[in-house]
């Protein structure tokens, strides 16, 4: 019954989105205002249908209606209610349905916010969005249908994948990732609209930039949450392994970050229009590629689910979207005329160009390393993967250069830097870099890349703080976007430094302890107190207790555990982390004997890990500051431009 209702809603949404897309494109071609109005209604209707479909699914999940295939697959009467609610995104079909909901909300929101503006562009944008919506509705209606009727419903189900039930971060990571991934559809629509319309005026930059910024914020946070989850759950003590699914989330982030920067140059100088549009399109295409990689089972991971027949369908959509983007670019990019040019490479805009080059380089590095094994397997049938050293050796130098750019870019003026400006912008802040480097050296950093990272980090931090405080309190009223950008930069500097320090300065050891025995790691002494079994409705756990002392003083008690889920053959460990500002102590059980007399435990001390989580949140907040609309900002910037031009002429 519920299943039939769900299927009916989804079929309606296929029709609504497809019809809406056609109406919108037709309205764009004839520049018909009535057509645009009608297309908007279809956009709202799509969002409403998606909301309804998800409502129906959640109802089925909460009432344990196992006659709905998806509930039979992931539902269980045993799991806590919060797990039941988030089960929506714990497996393939439900997560695609959730994707549809997020897409509907984005499309409706973007349509609503632009209802009074850009009537010449909007039909094309709505048409592009609804075309994507039609594809995903189709996906939900057929290849990934969660609403299949189960003829003989089981009494109880297995519940979602235990790895996903194992940690509370699972509630936050997927929605953030979807908000980031799906959100890239909106700037993609705007970019295509600019190309179809054959114009990218100064005013249309605003929705393009804002619609890119919002998913960028979500994606930034989502990538961090994914790393954090891996750190807290997987038990190998790291947060990033260059796993294909991690790369999949990073790739669109890289191009979107590049696009956010090139959009600034476009705004200031009227150049790089076609380039910015290309980056925006690439960001969208990479989200689809990422969905293909994570959802089709070509790579095995927590994210891929066994019954995945949607791979080919997504691949066809990816190919179609790629073809559409490339053809559109080839035919129409000349219509986006440059209105100015770049004066000198030694200037802020010059540094923006280098920034873009670096982000594109990073994108290709990660993309090649991720896709290469797929290509080899497809053509030669051999299975392999690209090892971590490839990514590290390629990304570390480029990332370090990026850190230097965060410093030197904002230090240089627009237009053309004079010699004394150049010297001043380079030398003075380097003093603070040298200090940070020296502190690091005294704290034991010997890795050359870590020391260079500290040097550049101190430099970039100095420039960022000086530029941020320029203009004093007035800045919060006038230059909020600028301040937001510098907050993001400040966060990025801390993240890069913390990554360098945490990955090169950790201590790791694996010991076997019997009850009462102790082991030392760094400043800590870890004593195994014993273990006990705990039973919860959805799992049984063996919890090992460790007392942690430092110089004889008690610090904390830690409880890493082994969880046994009924539907899993193998227990899953949950490490325990004791975080301080300076370092994390990480305990992960690898083996515990049945009588709980002895335990094998991996102990790790990693410096500065918690800085990463906090600094990424700072980056997200900086994005929010930059995004909050300002009425007078455009007028203020127009005024700023005049003296700039005057200076160049002189």
């Amino acid at each position: 019954m519920i299943a039939t209702l769900g299927r009916f809603i989804i079929l309606t949404s296929v029709f609504v989105s497809a019809a809406g897309a056609m109406i919108a494109f037709a309205a764009g071609k004839r520049q018909s205002l009535d057509g645009l109005k009608l297309a908007r209604r279809f956009a709202y209707a799509f969002a409403a249908l998606m909301l309804l479909a998800v409502g129906v699914m959640e109802y089925a999940l909460l009432t344990h209606d196992f006659s709905v295939s998806y509930v039979a697959q992931v539902g269980s009467r045993e799991v806590p209610t919060w797990v039941t609610i988030v089960s929506l995104w714990s497996s393939l079909e439900g997560s695609i349905l959730f994707w549809g909901l997020v897409m509907g909300l984005y499309i409706a929101g973007a349509t609503w916010l632009t209802r009074k503006a850009y009537p010449d562009y909007m039909p094309f944008a709505i048409g592009t969005w609804l075309s994507c919506a039609a594809f995903f509705s189709f996906l939900i209606s057929g290849p990934a249908n969660p609403f299949v009727s189960v003829p003989n419903p089981p009494i109880d189900g297995n519940g979602p994948n235990p790895l996903l039930q194992n940690h509370i971060l699972m509630v936050a990571h997927p929605p953030f990732l979807y908000l980031g991934y799906v959100g890239m559809t909106i700037p993609f629509g705007f970019a295509c609209a600019a190309l179809l319309r054959g114009r990218l005026g100064h005013s249309f930059l605003k929705p393009l930039r804002a619609s890119l910024m919002l998913p960028w914020i979500f994606l930034t946070i989502a990538i961090m949450l994914g790393g954090w989850w891996a750190y807290e759950v997987l038990g190998w003590g790291g947060y990033w392994a260059w796993d294909p699914v991690e790369n999949a989330s990073l790739l669109p982030w890289l191009t979107a970050t590049a696009a956010l920067h090139s959009a600034v140059v476009m705004e200031r100088r009227g150049v790089l229009k076609g380039w910015t549009v290309t980056l925006v399109q690439a960001s969208f295409l990479l989200t689809i590629l990422g969905t293909f990689m994570t959802r089709s089972g070509v790579f095995n991971s927590v994210h891929s689910f066994t019954q995945s027949s949607i791979g080919p369908t997504i691949l066809v959509f990816l190919a179609a979207a790629l073809l559409f983007s490339v053809v559109l670019l080839a035919l129409r990019v000349d219509t986006l005329e440059s209105e100015g040019r770049i004066e000198s490479p030694v200037s802020r805009e010059g540094m923006f160009l280098v920034n873009n080059l670096i982000f594109v380089l990073l994108t290709f590095t990660v993309l090649i390393g991720t896709v290469f094994p797929l290509v080899v397997e497809a053509f030669r049938g051999k299975q392999m993967s690209v090892g971590r050293p490839y990514f590290d050796s390629m990304v570390v130098p480029v990332g370090t250069a990026l850190l230097f750019l965060i410093g030197v870019g904002p230090a240089l003026p627009w237009g053309r830097a004079k010699r004394d400006q150049l010297v001043r912008s380079l030398l003075l802040p380097f003093a603070s870099g040298a200090i940070l480097g020296a502190i690091g050296f005294l704290a034991g950093a010997r890795n050359p890349w870590t020391l260079v990272t500290l040097l550049f980090g101190g430099y970039a931090a100095w420039v960022t703080i000086v530029e941020m405080s320029r203009g004093g309190a007035k800045v919060l009223k006038r230059g909020r976007r600028r301040v937001g950008a510098y907050i993001v930069h400040a966060g990025a500097v801390i993240v890069l430094v913390a990554i360098a320090v945490s990955s090169t300065m950790k201590t790791q050891t694996e010991v076997q302890l019997t009850r009462g025995q102790s082991a030392n790691i760094g400043m800590y002494t870890v004593t195994f107190l014993g273990a006990e079994d705990r039973t919860e409705p959805n799992r049984t756990s063996t919890v090992a207790r460790f007392a942690v002392t430092s110089n004889g003083k008690p610090v904390t008690t830690m409880e890493p555990r082994m969880n046994q889920y009924p539907q899993m053959r193998e227990p899953i460990g949950t490490p325990d982390v004791y975080s301080t500002v300076a370092r994390d102590l990480y305990l992960s059980i690898t083996n515990i004997d049945p009588g709980s007399r002895s335990v094998s435990v991996m102990m790790l001390i990693t410096p500065m890990v918690s800085w990463i989580w906090i600094a990424v949140i700072v980056m997200g907040l900086g994005g929010v500051v930059a995004l909050v609309p300002q009425r007078r900002v455009l007028a203020a910037e127009a005024k700023e431009r005049v003296p700039d031009v005057a200076a160049e002429v002189a």
């Binding site: 994948n161 790895l163 997987l234 190998w236 095995n300 991971s301 927590v302 066994t306 380089l361 290709f364 590095t365 090649i368 390393g369 290469f372 051999k382 299975q383 392999m384 993967s385 690209v386 090892g387 971590r388 050293p389 490839y390 050796s393 390629m394 694996e510 076997q512 082994m562 539907q567 899993m568 053959r569 193998e570 227990p571 460990g573 690898t590 083996n591 515990i592 094998s600």
Partner: protein
């Protein structure tokens, strides 16, 4: 203007080629091969020094615990068998007959030196019946956490 554009395009092309060369060498140096015992046997000398993920079944009766955390066992796909030496405590589920994936390389001593040992982590994995063929590729693909 035209000349400078040509120069720009040329330098971009050179940079792109340089990047391509660096990236491909980087990749080919860091490939990790997914092999079964049969693949390793066929690869002969190529298996020495290459990073390999070897997938197969822990041969019954082959596990020998050495001093400390030293561990010896055989990995088989019922056609060929490779002797594995591993350091480090094995994961909780490690036992005879289970599907394993070990990462490491073949050494001249004629055994596989492993520095990482994973048991197949998949919900659907079941130990193969005696005499049944083992799909090592499938095993490696379904091993989580590698």
């Amino acid at each position: 203007m035209k000349r400078s554009r040509l120069f720009l395009l040329l330098s971009l092309a050179v940079a792109a080629i340089a990047f391509g060369v660096i990236a491909t060498t980087g990749i080919s140096k860091n490939l990790v091969y997914y092999w079964s015992p049969t693949d390793i046997t066929h690869a002969r000398d190529k298996a020495y020094g290459a990073t390999i993920r070897l997938g197969g079944q822990v041969a019954p009766g082959s596990i020998r615990m050495g001093n400390g955390s030293l561990l010896d066992f055989d990995v088989t796909d019922h056609q060929h068998t490779i002797h594995v030496r591993s350091n480090g405590v094995p994961p909780q589920m490690f036992r005879e007959g289970i599907g394993v994936v070990v990462e490491g390389t073949m050494v001249r001593g004629g055994y596989f030196q492993s520095d990482r040992l994973m048991v197949s982590h998949n919900n659907e994995y079941r130990a193969p019946k005696p005499g049944e063929a083992i799909n090592a590729k499938q095993l490696i693909k379904t091993t989580k956490g590698l």
